[in-house]
């Protein structure tokens, strides 16, 4: 009851005209940040942080938090319409969302993305409201061996993302893992695969790879079809049918559970979590063959998961001062600018601030739904933009998006190179999703393995002597075996 009292008081503060205005302002800016490729939540918050410097702490953090979850909402729009994920977590959304847009169902895809984001975001906020300190302590007990188990579990998704040929999927994943190793080793500072140059010291940025593999590849594939063959997606109806909504209820709840549960763990990125939510949805579906071909659940699952992750990320941030994602690390610096030290004492020392921000998130979620649903028609009409206009726009935005990562043309060059890689992969039937997944997971895999082995003085027994770690490992291996067996039944000739 005490929590409800605090929350009620928070709503009283959050509903003041000033705080409402900044929540709205942040939601709109965040949506824009999400829509623009390359400018993800992290750089969005970093760019807009100075804008909030003239504000008191509560409206400033309300605005920054609204930018963060606004970006998570907006990232799906370009992923669905033009196959350009606005941020990393939307990569999975593009798998089915873009197919839906191609089939003239851009409206329902955008609408279900907004609805699923709202449902999962709001349920995630309930978790944040009622369980923050408790959950944060539990999440901290997860050590490197458990993270290793979790990554193995996540890697089992590669098998189901591989398409008709397992060999092709595994090869794509191995390429992604190789790319992830380039640059300074984060633990020892040793240079790897830099070939004596300084250009590759910072590694190959994830955003540049995504932009290349999705946006640039998309244009290269699109442009080679003769002009009349470049079919512009039909607008179609704007809202999902009642049956589609009902089909997505379970999806949204599962995505919320996965997104919120895994989002509590620092280092577990929304990108990886949305892949896991998508895979779970495909596994529980009675018609898994629809996934990748425009299944509406394939949009609802990653969008729900990444918004639940967004809410969950505030649990370790507020309760322990631990940012779960890079974007939250930037937000943490925003808190510290105002002399607010997140941690166990924040709820005691600054209850008014914390509960006002939490209440404003509920309001921000409603605002985003209200902003996004009526705009579905407007966004969906982007499908009617002629390809001759869309193609240069995509390429210019891709160049800008890759450049914005580190203000360097090297990243643009990388994006172009991965555009060619993506094009060749499509032409030869290699799936790009396992490459992306491996790129996300390999740094986590490497740090968890090495930290675990350090803890155990080099003994690999640590992975099988800790109950949570061994459970996760067993689950990962069981899921891989299960998928392999079901693949053999479905596609007897798989290699």
């Amino acid at each position: 009851m005490e929590t409800l009292g605090h929350l009620g008081h928070g709503f009283g503060q959050a509903l003041t005209p000033q705080n409402l205005l900044f929540a709205l302002f942040g939601s709109v800016l965040g949506t824009l940040v999400g829509v623009l490729p390359g400018i993800g939540p992290t750089s969005g918050i970093a760019i807009l942080l100075p804008l909030t410097s003239f504000l008191p702490p509560a409206p400033a953090i309300i605005m920054l938090a609204a930018i963060y979850y606004g970006a998570m909402y907006g990232g799906s729009t370009t992923a669905i319409l033009v196959n350009i994920p606005g941020e990393v977590a939307s990569v999975v959304t593009s798998l089915d969302g873009y197919q839906m847009a191609q089939q003239g169902r851009a409206g329902p895809a955008l609408a279900i993305a907004a609805i699923s984001s709202f449902v999962a975001g709001t349920l995630g906020l309930l978790g944040l409201t009622f369980f923050a300190p408790l959950l944060a302590e539990g999440a901290l007990r997860i050590g490197p061996p458990e993270y290793f188990g979790l990554v193995v579990l996540a890697f089992s998704v590669v098998v189901s993302l591989s398409g008709p040929s397992l060999l092709k999927g595994l090869s794509a994943a191995a390429l992604g893992a190789f790319v992830a190793l380039v640059g300074l080793d984060p633990m020892s500072g040793v240079r790897r695969f830099t070939f004596g140059t300084t250009t590759l010291l910072g590694g190959i940025d994830f955003i540049a790879v995504i932009i290349g593999l999705f946006a640039i590849t998309e244009v290269l594939v699109g442009v080679e079809k003769s002009a009349p063959a470049v079919a512009l997606a039909r607008l179609g109806k704007l809202m999902p049918s009642g049956a589609e909504l009902r089909a997505c209820v379970g999806t949204m709840l599962r995505a919320t559970g996965i997104g919120f549960g895994l989002g509590l763990l620092p280092g577990c990125t929304p990108g990886a979590i949305s892949f896991i939510a998508y895979d779970v949805e495909r596994r529980v579906s009675r018609t898994p063959e629809r996934f990748g071909r425009g299944a509406i659940e394939g949009v609802a699952a990653p969008e729900g998961a990444n918004n639940a992750t967004t809410s969950a990320g505030f649990v370790p941030l507020f309760a322990l001062g631990v940012p779960a994602t890079p974007a939250l690390a930037v937000l943490l610096s925003g808190l510290m600018i105002y002399g607010l030290q997140p941690g166990p004492l924040l709820f005691e020392k600054q209850p008014q601030f914390v509960w006002t921000v939490i209440a404003s998130m509920y309001i921000g979620n409603v605002m985003l739904l209200v902003l996004n649903l009526p705009l579905v028609g407007l966004w969906a009409r982007l499908c009617h933009v002629p390809y001759a206009v869309l193609a240069p726009l995509i390429l210019i935005f891709s160049v800008l998006g890759a450049f914005s990562v580190r203000n360097s043309l090297t990243d643009v060059g990388m994006a172009l190179a991965f555009g060619v890689v993506g094009y060749l992969m499509i032409k030869t039937g290699y799936p790009t999703a396992p490459l992306v997944l491996a790129l996300i997971l390999t740094p986590m895999l490497e740090s968890s393995v090495r930290q675990s082995l350090d803890m155990a003085h080099g003994s690999a027994m640590i992975f099988v002597t800790r109950p949570i770690a061994v459970t996760l490992l067993a689950a990962g291996l069981a899921l891989t075996a299960w998928t392999l067996v079901s693949r053999r039944r479905r596609i007897p000739h798989v290699v």
Binding site: A174, M187, A388, L395, I396, T442, V495
Partner: protein
């Protein structure tokens, strides 16, 4: 369609070999920075060898008539655009790139092409340089 699989197999083996050699070269423990390059290198070599031993099925043929020359031309245009950015500046390079692509793909009249070009280059300039303050190359004209 056996040839692409063989080429990809050879490329994977070569990439794996580079990774294994790199892990050998690194000055760190085998349970340190060398571990993952070695594991991934061996995986790449194994996968490449699997390609050579039993090539995977080729990609299903596309239902659309493709013209790979158009993709190559578009790639060349983007490469020239990116190469021109540092010395021409963002706005002029973007305008020329947009003009060529819109004219090529759209086959619109010149006035329409120019209008679309101005809209694309102008909007990009205002959003990314003015509003977001992105430090894009300005070129000799400062644009």
């Amino acid at each position: 369609m056996r040839r692409p699989a063989l080429e990809i197999g050879v490329a994977l083996v070569a990439l794996g070999a580079v990774s294994v050699v790199e892990s050998w070269r690194l000055r760190d423990g085998w349970l340190g920075a060398r571990l993952m390059p070695l594991v991934i290198g061996l995986a790449l070599v194994g996968l490449g060898a699997a390609h050579l031993a039993a090539p995977p099925p080729p990609a299903p043929p596309s239902p659309d008539r493709a013209a790979p020359g158009r993709a190559a031309l578009m790639l060349a245009l983007v490469v020239f655009y990116v190469a021109a950015l540092p010395w021409a500046g963002f706005l002029p390079a973007t305008a020329v790139f947009a003009l060529i692509v819109v004219r090529w793909l759209g086959a619109y009249s010149w006035p329409a092409t120019l209008a679309v070009t101005v809209a694309i280059a102008g909007a990009s300039h205002v959003i990314f340089l003015r509003w977001l303050g992105m430090p894009l190359p300005a070129g000799p004209l400062g644009l």
